[in-house]
Subunit: 254 residues, 2 copies
């Protein structure tokens, strides 16, 4: 008798978001699902963890009989708490999302969605972050779901060595196919908007302009702009191995 | 007439921490210093940014005439706001720290100190995160400062291409020298401590045990355990380039 895969689901938009509901329904077709997700939006939390205050969890029954907990912490907290307290065994797969908004190129580093998946990978799970390039709460996930299911299925079936996970971004509109890509070299140009509060004090809203500095046709930005789903193999070893030799010649030892 | 280097200083322990004071005093010997740092401790904030609420800044005169602002945001917010609103030109160097506590191996990903430096690097600055392996507010920075100055000086003098920055960790106690290292393969084993509040509800404190899975003698953990300062060239391209070819064979396109 074969055991069904165990799949942990989280996100950063919060446990009531349409994107996580879609992901849960899809994962139910592949295995047994456990959900641990933030009780409120936690976008752009990066890899933040909660160490200065306690964390609470509450079991909720909002996903049609699927075991689910909402958590007061960050997306990374959710994964850590799931591992230590809520999961019966190590999951065969962890999926995060589906995020309302893209997490391509440099956005991977700010993204709570991807940080939950990165944390799962650090803990030795196969992990995938899914994001849709549409911020709307009413985004149409219908055409997207066969791709999400297929990518999750193939990830369960194939080897993904320790250190690697997948960052999957899905363009809005018609989908032409799937491309395996590298992260484009891109950044945000900061544009803080200054306002004055009713008491005469200044405050700032962070806004910015996305700048793609990369003209390659092998990047996630290229794939998305051309109607393809981008799959970027992502890693959490931040060592710039190539640079070790060069910096050895700086004379830092002297 | 040569212009003095412009140096941006930030951290995650907050603008009143002893570690940032030491770093500011040291950087004054190398150039003109501008400080933009959190107004409260922001440890373990990772690469979080503040998008759901406004950010405030206040000019403060607590660092002996050095231009300094405290900011309500995260370490990454501080760097972004500095670039858009406070700096007269792009700094020649950005330094973050000195953190009270180590940010070696996997800790780089949770660290607000390193995330401030990573953000500066994304924005095209030479950047260094400095951390001392001593959590005490009364840690003795004295023996450490000549090394900090020398590493900053040599970073100003040498080429550091776009995409790279330095993660510098300093051991507590006697220092034998400096090693250029890779990040050790390590992780935290979660151990949430369960408590009950006065109203009978459970809550959890995140704790954990550090597990070094790496036996190499070229890692930062090895260097620190053997009395050396570790310098890890760090990058923010998270693409696992090696894996692209393999995943192309998974049939995700079908």
């Amino acid at each position: 008798m074969s055991v069904k895969p165990l799949i942990l689901v989280s996100n950063d938009d919060g446990i009531t978001s349409p994107g996580i509901s879609q992901l849960i329904e899809c994962m139910k077709e592949l295995g047994d699902v456990i959900v641990v997700a933030p009780d409120k939006p936690q976008s752009a939390m990066g890899h933040a963890i909660t160490i200065n205050e306690p964390i609470r969890i509450t079991k909720v029954d909002i996903h049609h009989g699927v075991q689910a907990w909402q958590c007061t912490g960050t997306p990374v907290d959710c994964v850590k708490l799931a591992i230590d307290r809520l999961l019966p065994r190590k999951p065969d797969l962890m999926v995060s999302g589906i995020n309302h908004g893209s997490n391509s190129s440099i956005n991977v580093i700010y993204s709570g969605t991807m940080s939950a998946a990165v944390e799962a990978a650090i803990d030795g799970m196969k992990a995938i972050g899914f994001s849709l390039g549409d911020f709307s709460w009413d985004a149409d996930f219908g055409p997207v779901m066969p791709y999400v299911k297929s990518i999750a299925e193939k990830t369960l079936r194939n080897e993904l060595p320790y250190g690697s996970l997948l960052n999957v971004n899905i363009p809005k509109g018609e989908i032409k196919g799937v491309k395996i890509c590298r992260q484009a070299v891109a950044r945000w140009k900061e544009e803080f908007e200054e306002r004055t509060d009713p008491f005469g004090r200044k405050y700032y809203w962070m806004t910015g302009k996305f700048v793609n500095m990369d003209h390659g046709d092998d990047t996630d930005e290229w794939a998305l702009a051309n109607g393809y789903i981008s799959v970027v193999p992502t890693m959490f070893d931040l060592t710039d191995h190539q640079r070790i030799g060069v910096i050895n010649n700086w004379g830092l030892h002297d």
